[in-house]
């Protein structure tokens, strides 16, 4: 950290928050809030005389309230930069520190937060993780029994710069513990709190046990665990070493800790799975190895940077295998535990990778994007004719559409990822998606439904999930009806209701509307845009009296080949349950209504028009952003 702060090309901003982010990859504008320290960083030399005279003591956040700090102090002795700051909630403004500071004149109580805009090329998010608070698990008595401590409290107690100078003592009476239990999976692998495994705690428990055993060879150390997970290089060897040192590993998650009210000793009750019975053992101290949880402010960081979260609140990578460091917003990268709990080696590896990815942006003169972006025909847009609209803006998950009333929307091509949600939302055919124009999709539909359409199941699949699911069904040799005809779009958001009406008008037997599961969507909220539309369609067809199952909405991930096959087979069963005459009769019955609803499909621009538009856009882009990225 000190090295980084001294590097001529590294600018470390501590005590600073990102307020707003605008712009796009390579050209971000970021508003930073430098929070007020009430001490001038350029004048303070870190001598600490102010803290010596400060009469106010408050709990020390860094020491987890195991020790006090002064109202003017540094967060920790290794703070970078070594600048004191004033806790204004506690300060009584006695000005003793100002006197002590003397000629340096670094302390100024009138200081305010500074807001500034900066030009930034790329952004790496490395906000880390937080710890689960075990107070809510009453069975372990944390917060009631003083000798039950968390792993981070242990970290401070066993640290030479910690509040006890490195002496491990019991909080209840200051005695050195002779018997210590470590309990794993406190709040992790637990559906009540965090269903996932926190990844590093097994190794962390072993590390702590080994460290303590080295310092206190006579200490009786037990580690309670559900499973010990040592998946990386050298980890199993370390686990073996811990066992060789005499550390006891007990397979069984304790259900209860009780305290002897006289001695403060703790009794841990757990099943020993190897013995198959419950054992109750007495310890002087118990350390709870808590789960890693996302930082409390992940939601605001997500919305400021326009990045997504996985279930549980961790930031989501663009693709779990192929682009693990990227986010859905180009130019924003992830490093470390903010993306998911991980240990130091993995965090360092990911950090190095993210830095390299970010550097790639900084060194590029031009930035290549997917060619499937959206485009606008100004002469068709009703907003350009002075009417109120803006539906496209609402559909865009990336904020790539700039819209002003009375004008046609402006698409920032560098921000557009090509989901096509805006294209499908536009009620006037004023938008198109290059390479996925209405005309192209229509032509595919017409071809697929050219012959005996009533026997066909037309399946609209999104590129990232359900198309992958269909692909997997194929390579896994899951048999499904050969009447299925697949049609690929980038995202279910692209699926215009008109396509569905047109498919039925063309006489399709059944239509599948498929896409990603909501949490898997490649385009942040694209699936939700599509799902809303699909729900409306389902209701409308139900009201019209269509046989249930002829139009079906399913969310199928790329791993669910079996589900894809099952859904198609079920749709085939629906068709088989009707006689040919019944089916044809129903198709004919609805054809006029479908034709009325799909009337705009008659007016879609030709494919050539779209390619002319693409050329135009390229020219405009070149003219407008000569120095862009």
């Amino acid at each position: 950290m000190v090295d980084a702060s001294r590097h001529p090309k590294v600018d470390v901003r501590t005590f600073t928050e990102v307020e707003r982010v605008e712009g796009f990859v390579g050209n971000f504008k970021v508003q930073l809030r430098q929070k007020s320290r009430y001490v001038y960083a350029d004048r303070c030399n870190g001598c600490g005389e102010c803290a010596d005279v400060c009469p106010i003591e408050v709990p020390n956040y860094f020491e987890l309230s195991l020790a006090p700090r002064r109202a003017i102090d540094v967060a920790m002795s290794q703070s970078v930069p070594l600048v004191y700051n004033v806790d204004m909630d506690a300060c009584i403004e006695c000005y003793k520190c100002v006197e002590a500071c003397g000629e340096l004149d670094a302390i100024h109580f009138g200081m305010e937060d500074q807001l500034a805009w900066e030009d930034i090329g790329s952004i790496v998010v490395a906000t880390g993780f937080d710890h689960f608070d075990p107070t809510v698990m009453s069975e372990y008595g944390y917060g009631r029994f003083p000798n039950v401590i968390t792993s981070i409290e242990m970290e401070r107690l066993n640290n030479s710069t910690g509040p006890t100078g490195g002496d491990l003592i019991r909080p209840s009476d200051g005695e050195a513990p002779e018997r210590l239990a470590i309990i794993n999976c406190v709040g992790s692998r637990d559906k009540r709190f965090n269903p996932s495994c926190s990844n590093f705690c097994c190794m962390y428990a072993i590390k702590n046990a080994v460290l303590l055993k080295q310092t206190y060879p006579d200490m009786e150390l037990s580690v309670y665990y559900i499973d010990i997970r040592t998946p990386s290089k050298g980890y199993e060897e370390f686990y073996n070493r811990a066992r060789e040192m005499g550390i006891r590993f007990i397979q069984g998650r304790p259900g209860l800790i009780t305290e002897d009210p006289d001695t403060g000793n703790l009794f841990v009750e757990s099943e020993d799975r190897d013995l198959g019975r419950v054992i109750e053992r007495e310890y002087d101290m118990v350390m709870l190895n808590q789960a890693a949880v996302p930082q409390p402010d992940v939601d605001s960081v997500s919305s400021v940077l326009n990045i997504t979260q996985s279930p549980g609140g961790w930031f989501m990578e663009y693709h779990p295998k192929l682009r693990p460091l990227d986010t859905p917003t180009d130019g924003v990268f992830l490093a470390g535990a903010c993306q998911g709990p991980k240990d130091i080696p993995s965090s360092v590896a990911q950090g190095s990778g993210a830095a390299a990815r970010a550097g790639r942006v900084l060194h590029a003169d031009e930035w290549e994007i997917e060619p499937v972006i959206a485009a606008v025909w100004e002469d068709r847009c009703i907003s350009a004719q002075g009417k109120k609209c803006g539906l496209c803006v609402q559909a865009c998950p990336y904020g790539a559409i700039e819209y002003e009333e009375g004008k046609a929307p402006d698409i920032i091509t560098a921000k557009c990822h090509g989901c096509g949600g805006c294209v499908a939302e536009c009620p006037h055919n004023a938008m198109t998606q290059l390479h996925f124009t209405d005309a192209q999709i229509l032509a595919q539909m017409q071809t697929l439904l050219a012959d005996k359409p009533e026997q066909k199941i037309l399946a609209f699949r999104c590129h990232w999930c359900s198309y992958g699911g269909a692909d997997l069904a194929g390579v896994s040799h899951f048999e499904y009806s050969s009447n299925e005809r697949g049609l690929r779009v980038m995202c279910s958001a692209r699926l215009d209701a008109d396509f569905i009406y047109e498919a039925f008008r063309l006489g399709a037997g059944a239509v599948l509307f498929s896409g990603c599961h909501p949490q898997d969507c490649h385009y942040i909220t694209g699936q939700r845009v599509g799902a809303r539309r699909a729900e409306r369609l389902l209701k409308r067809f139900e009201r019209m009296g269509m046989t249930p199952g002829r139009f079906r909405v399913e969310w199928i991930s790329a791993a669910e080949g079996d589900k894809y096959a099952r859904v198609i087979n079920e749709m085939q069963e629906v068709l088989d349950s009707m006689t040919q005459e019944e089916l044809l009769e129903e198709i004919e019955e609805f054809r006029p209504e479908m034709a009325r609803r799909a009337r705009r499909m008659r007016q879609v621009p030709l494919v050539e028009e779209a390619s002319d538009l693409a050329k135009e856009i390229a020219e405009v882009q070149r003219a407008r952003e000569p120095a862009a990225v």
Binding site: C185, K191, I226, R253, P254, T258, P261, F267, S270, G276
Partner: protein, 319 residues
């Protein structure tokens, strides 16, 4: 493609099909349920809910039906809130038990019995039972139809709540009948110190130290073990006071932790009413006390007895 619909129903499928029997395959054998449960520690070393779940998953039907776990679980649900996989274990065990009963197995537990010559068919036992074991049946006696209570031996867990509730004294449970309890109320008088009867439920004391404390009866304290404080009849406390004992202490589980679901709640109401009645008779001097001991209240029984003894000493001096 494999056709899943025609799959032979396994034992696990059968358990899963019973409401409450779902999710059993989510168990990852952490052992929390076992460590929470009192039965293995107090009654049956072979008792183990985690293993029962595994017997079901492994399709070991007969072993599961014979397992003490199937029969001894009283659905106290200490384990359920602690289970990290949120498996409602007592429901799963209940499902196994239901299948076992259907297969003709019988509960090995000591259950209550109804004396039909005393039963009036009032149905209070039906309302009081946490396990829906008693039900009313109509039978012909001497040519007349009459109603009687009948207890399902596979449902009864033997808590004795109905024994205390029955106004006719028609229900009895071996070991804790009124006569057997009365016989234990004789506290030998030693020096001038007050004498105390402590009714202690079988489940509220977890710690070995607390159990041994009672085994070596403290001086002038007569300990009466009962399966559940729900078995306490206010009459029992009055009987004790009537026989010359100075105070009565009733120890049960904390609310929500009762081994028989609601015994402790029932008895807290009963003792509360008794105390109010004693107050009206000018006897409300704290000589009958009800304490609820939670799973984490290690050592509390000792302080409660000391506290009660101090109170009785003060009371004696005042009298």
């Amino acid at each position: 493609m494999a056709d899943h619909s025609s799959k032979i129903q396994t034992f696990a499928d059968q358990v899963r099909a019973i409401p409450g029997g779902e999710h059993l395959e989510m168990c990852y054998s952490c052992g929390t349920c076992v460590s929470k449960c009192m039965i293995q520690q107090k009654v049956e070393p072979e008792y183990n809910p985690r293993r029962l779940l595994h017997l079901v998953i492994m399709d070991m039907r007969d072993e599961a039906f014979k397992s003490p776990t199937t029969w001894l679980c009283s659905a106290c649900d200490l384990c359920y809130p602690a289970c990290p996989q949120e498996i409602h274990i007592s429901d799963v065990i209940g499902a196994v038990k239901q299948l076992a009963v259907e297969a003709g197995y019988e509960s090995p537990l000591e259950t209550v019995s109804v004396n039909e010559s005393l039963c009036s068919g009032c149905g209070i036992c039906v309302m009081s039972c946490p396990y829906e074991a008693p039900h009313l049946v109509e039978k012909e006696v001497d040519g007349l139809m009459d109603r009687f209570s009948e207890v399902d031996p596979n449902g009864c867990m033997g808590c004795g709540i109905c024994v205390a509730a029955c106004p006719m004294g028609a229900i009895s449970r071996p070991g804790v009948s009124n006569e057997e309890v009365r016989a234990q109320l004789d506290v030998p008088r030693r020096n001038g110190a007050p004498r105390l009867v402590a009714f202690v439920c079988d489940w509220c004391l977890r710690a070995d130290a607390d159990v041994t404390l009672l085994d070596n009866s403290p001086e002038n304290v007569q300990v009466v073990h009962i399966p559940c404080t729900g078995r306490i009849d206010p009459e029992m406390a009055l009987m004790a006071l009537g026989s010359g004992v100075d105070g009565v202490l009733v120890c049960g589980c904390a609310p929500g932790e009762c081994h028989y679901q609601r015994g402790t709640t029932v008895s807290s109401c009963k003792i509360g009413l008794l105390n109010r009645a004693l107050e009206q008779m000018n006897m409300g001097d704290g000589r009958v006390r009800f304490v609820q001991i939670g799973t984490q209240d290690r050592g509390r029984i000792r302080s409660e007895i000391d506290h009660m003894m101090d109170h009785l000493v003060a009371w004696k001096e005042a009298v």
